[in-house]
Structures are given as C-alpha cells and as structure tokens.
C-alpha cells in the first residue's frame, strides 16, 4: 500500500496545475481516487460527507456481480463439455470458461474506459466511475460466442450514445449496458440469437460439432412449455444463456448484497417479481383449456427462472440513475417491468427475451412515472390544505 502511495505522490507534481502533463489531470485523478480515498475536505460551512462516494457504491455493485460472474465462467465450460459429451473436472470447466470470458471482460473494460478517459481529458472533467459497473454488466449479458470486436463496438456505442452525449454518468436516461446489448441485438442479429449460446470450439479427439441444439428455455417455452428444463436446473443455472444470467441463485446472492448495503432498491426488485407473477397467473386463467402444452399454461414462477429475468430485475432495473426515483414510483416502475416482460414473452415469439427491451422502455418512462407521482402528491396536499 505504502509503495503505491509513494508512487502516486511521486508522479503527482507532473499532473497538478503548472505541471508538464496538466492536461491529463482527469486521468490521473481517476487513478488516484480509484486507489485511495480522496483526502479533500470541504472548505465552506459544515458539510457532512459520507465515506461512501460514487466509486465505493459502484464497487459494491461490482462485488454483488461476482457470484454471477464466477458461476457464468463455470457454466460456460460446463455447457461446452456437455455439448461434446465429455465428463471433466470442475477445474476444467472453470478454466475453459475463464479462457473464453476473460477476453470479453478485458475488451469491455479497456474500450469503455478508453472512451471515458478520452472524454474526460478533452472536456476537462473528472473521469466518471459509472463505467466500472457497465463494463462488468456488458460481458455478463452477452453470449459467450460473441466476437470481441463486436463487444468493443458495443462498448463504444453505449458510452458515446448512452452516456457522454447526455453529459456523462448520472445524466443518461437509459441503462448503458442494456443499450450496448440492444445495439448488438439489432446490429448483428445472427450473433445474438439462435444457436449461439454454447461455445463449440473444437476439442482434440472429438468430432467437430457444427449443429448443436442451442435452444434456450425461452425458445422451448413458446413451442411446448412442458419440455423446458427442470425448475432446479433453471434455478441453479445449468442451462444455456448469456454468460452471467443463467443462475437465479447467484443473482439472489447479488440481490442480498445490494439490499444489505442499501445500494439497490428492494422495492424495485420485489415489485418486478410480483408484476411477473400477477401477469403469469392472469395468463394461466385465460389459457386455452384443450391445449395443455400452450405457453399460457406455464406456471408463473417459471417466468422468474427463465432467461435473464432475475438478472435484469436485480442488476438492471435497480440502476439508480435510470429507475424511478420516487418511492411510490418505484413500485409502479417495477410492477410494469415484471408485467410487460411476461406479456411480451407470451405474445411475441419472435422476441424470446423481453427483459432487455422492457427495462429500456421503462427507463424511458421512469421520469413520467415520477412526474405523475409528484403531481398526485401535490394535489393531495392541496386538497387537504383547502379543507
């Protein structure tokens, strides 16, 4: 620690005002505050400062994502060897996954932070911490077979169009990571849907697989919901899907961390789950009785387990910048996300995974929800004052 501090102090004079590299101060500042708590205190009147600044908050979210990441890495290897019918040790599964997932994470972080640093230096504002979370979310919501240059393109797109164009972290009205996924979904549909969920790179001594049924549970659901994987498989995450979203269990650990530290709103998480359950039960009621394989017969809790539902509800919908801000608004926001996800899943087979689009849609409507909540409150108070 001391070595680091000394190193930082040694190069600091170059970056402060009048130094040789003055222009690069934002970049330096970002690195310094990333390593150490900033030592500045307010010079004006009394001002309570919490030790938890934006960087610590972001790091908490990243820590909460670690379980999903670790499981995702393991599952990547597991699905790969499963496709070849090979029994391997857990270490092998993990190592294979690491080999595939790590490059995606590295590309996502380096490209996205690169854009952030360029903007910080050009505009002269401090580097924003928002990308710490976005950079980790992007790999977790992509299929493992995605080419790296597409990851880079998506990272550039979401930082530029999702954030910087509106003024940087905290000014964006849509979740940048989901925007990156939506960009890839529409730009390169062949790489974002279909038989791409399992890495089929050749194994020595095995026949090269070029056709492997890559149908995720979401696709099976539309055809015959009775053929989906078992509830426990879907809960623990032994299924195909984007890297980090398969395990509901890992997401719940993350939810626990987020709620305990107060970083993520439990109201949003809970209401998303409730919204999906209500809509699922409603659909059970209107399902055609003569066709037991019809997708409307799916038990409501399947919706919690399928696809990226839990991941989206816990890590994406709770994004404090893009979610509704008022407490009552959070309930409405969450309920609508949950309900809309089930509606789109049920009625649009062309769009197996609705979580991404629904959260983006509700991000756009969050300010409207807040506005209505606030106006209602004002009206209520006025009515009471008039009595």
């Amino acid at each position: 620690m001391k070595v680091l501090r000394n190193l930082v102090d040694k190069v600091k004079p170059n970056f402060v005002k009048g130094g040789k590299l003055e222009k690069w101060y934002p970049a330096f500042e970002a690195m310094e505050t990333f390593l150490f708590s900033p030592g500045e205190v307010t010079t004006h009147k009394v001002h309570v400062r919490d030790a938890v600044d934006l960087k610590r908050t972001m790091i908490t979210v990243v820590i909460a994502m670690v379980p999903t990441l670790l499981f995702g890495i393991w599952n990547t290897g597991y699905q790969h060897y499963l496709a070849y019918g090979m029994e391997m040790s857990h270490v092998d599964y993990f190592l294979f996954g690491l080999k595939k997932v790590l490059p995606i994470i590295v590309v996502s972080y380096s490209v996205g932070l690169g854009v952030e640093f360029v903007f910080a230096v050009v505009k002269g504002h401090p580097v924003s911490e928002g990308y710490l979370v976005t950079g980790m979310l992007i790999p977790l919501i992509l299929p493992v077979t995605i080419p790296l240059w597409m990851v880079a393109l998506a990272a550039i797109f979401c930082t530029l169009i999702g954030k910087e164009i509106f003024g940087g972290t905290g000014m964006n009205f849509m979740n940048p990571a989901l925007l990156a996924r939506a960009f890839l979904f529409f730009a390169f549909p062949a790489f974002m849907s279909g038989e791409i969920w399992t890495d089929l790179s050749p194994e020595s001594g095995q026949v090269i697989l070029d056709a492997y049924s890559g149908a995720t549970n979401l696709v099976i659901y539309d055809a015959n919901h009775l053929e989906m994987q078992s509830v426990s498989d879907m809960f623990w995450g032994f299924e195909q899907g984007s890297i980090g979203e398969t395990s509901v269990f890992a997401c719940l650990i993350g939810a626990f961390i987020l709620i305990l530290t107060g970083v993520g709103s439990w109201k949003i998480m809970l209401s998303v789950f409730i919204g999906a359950a209500v809509m699922g039960l409603l659909f059970n009621g209107i399902a055609p009785a003569d066709d037991p394989t019809h997708y409307l017969h799916t038990p409501f809790y399947y919706h919690w387990l399928m696809g990226g539902f839990a991941f989206g509800a816990i890590y994406m919908a709770t994004d404090p910048v893009t979610a509704a801000h008022t407490e009552r608004g959070k309930w409405v926001y969450g309920l609508m996300i949950g309900g809309l996800i089930v509606i789109i899943r049920a009625f649009n087979p062309a769009y197996p995974e609705a979580v991404m689009m629904v959260i983006l849609l509700m991000n756009v409507h969050a300010p409207l929800i807040d506005h209505i909540v606030v106006q209602n409150h004002i009206k209520k108070r006025l009515r009471r004052a008039a009595q």
């Binding site: 240059w149 169009i161 164009i165 730009a187 390169f188 549909p189 790489f191």
Partner: protein, 225 residues
C-alpha cells in the same frame, strides 16, 4: 460639379447585386447555420426513410432542391396577388405540380430509383421544408432571393441526407453508390455488416451525432431548439 457624378452612383448602390451579401446569405445559411434538418428540425421523416443507400438520397436531395427552389420562385412572383386566406392552398397546388413533374421525370428516366423512392417523392408535397420556406421566406421576399433560399434549403437538406446515407450504406452494406468497398477478406476474417444501419433508428442516431458535432463547433446554435 462633383455632386453630379456622385448622384447616379448612389442610386446604383440601392439596387442589390445578384449575389449581394444578403443574397449569398440566403443561399449559404441553410447549408450549416440554419440547416433545415439539424437546426430548423424540418423534413426529418424522409431523412429517416430514404437514406439507406447513397443513390436514392442524392436523387431525393436533387428532387427536393428543384421543388423547393421553383416553388419559392413562383410563389414569390405571385405573392402579391395571392389572397391571404387561401395562400396555403395556392402554395400546395404549385408544390404538387412541381412534385408531379419530378415524379414523372424520375419514372421516365430512372425507373429503378423511382421504384426505390416509392411514395417519398410524392410525399415531397407535404415535406415541411418546402412549405416552411414558402411561408417563412417566399411569401415576403423578392423572387431572386426566394429562389436562392429554396436552392439553399434543398442543398442543406441534401448535405444531411447524403452524409447519413454514406454512413448507413458503408456500415450497413459495405459499399458506396453500389460499389463494394469493404473487401472480401475482411468478411472472411469475421467482419459483419451492421444490421442496425438498415433500420430507420440508425438515421436518427447519425443525425443526432451530426447535431452534437455541429453544436459543439458552433456554441451559438446551442439554444436554438
């Protein structure tokens, strides 16, 4: 003695030159500072629809320039005899006449392109740029400046249209004006055309980024809209 020679010069100065500063401004302002799409925010709809490829974008830009220029000229010529209450209808008839002309010429000489542009040539009639400039400029100005204003706005529209189309065709299909630019070996190495560029939202993104670039270059435009 000197006063005699000065007097005629003065009257000559009063008559505006064909390309006086004011007239030049009417022509060049819409290209950038008062661009119909990025500053006046008119004619967005066709900018989203006909910019997948460069060729139809160029034809569309030329067509709109023609219509806008001659509609402005004709309206400015007869502006004093148009009754105020039916001016919109008169404008519409003249615009419709010109658009039909353009449409027929396209059908006769460039059938493929006219197929590609489909209804959008006909929809120039309702293009906000044409009507907007007639109302805002040609109804109150002399014919020549009105003509220049029409040409300028048509070209300003064209600049955006072609810029957007170049980006969309290059990234969406790897070609420009139909010539393949991205070589085959790039595709062999894993390059893929960007499917988003074929969808209308891409045009919106590109226009948005153009506006961003334009505003950051010229801060005086920032509070316009």
């Amino acid at each position: 003695m000197s006063t005699d020679t000065i007097a005629p010069v003065k009257t000559k100065e009063k008559k505006e030159g064909l390309f006086s500063k004011k007239n030049r401004k009417a022509l060049t302002d819409p290209l950038d500072d008062n661009n119909p799409i990025t500053v006046q925010v008119l004619g967005i709809c066709s900018a989203l629809a006909v910019t997948i490829q460069v060729k139809p974008a160029i034809i569309m830009a030329l067509g709109l320039t023609m219509v806008s220029a001659f509609a402005s000229l004709i309206i400015a010529l007869i502006r004093d005899s148009i009754p105020g209450r039916i001016r919109m209808i008169v404008q519409l008839i003249i615009v419709a006449l010109l658009v039909t002309l353009v449409d027929q010429v396209l059908k006769a000489f460039m059938y493929d392109v006219s197929k590609q542009l489909s209804v959008f040539v006909g929809l120039i009639i309702t293009n906000c740029i044409v009507m907007g400039r007639l109302e805002a400029f040609a109804m109150a100005q002399k014919p020549w400046p009105s003509f220049l204003d029409g040409v300028g706005n048509g070209l300003g529209y064209g600049i955006i249209l072609i810029t957007v189309a170049v980006v969309r065709e290059f990234f969406g299909a790897g070609s420009l004006l139909g010539y393949q630019l991205v070589p085959q070996w790039a595709y062999d190495h894993g390059y893929v055309n960007n499917g988003l560029m074929a969808l209308p939202p891409a045009a919106l993104f590109i226009i948005g980024m153009y506006i961003w670039w334009q505003r950051s270059r010229k801060p005086k435009l920032v509070n316009v809209s």
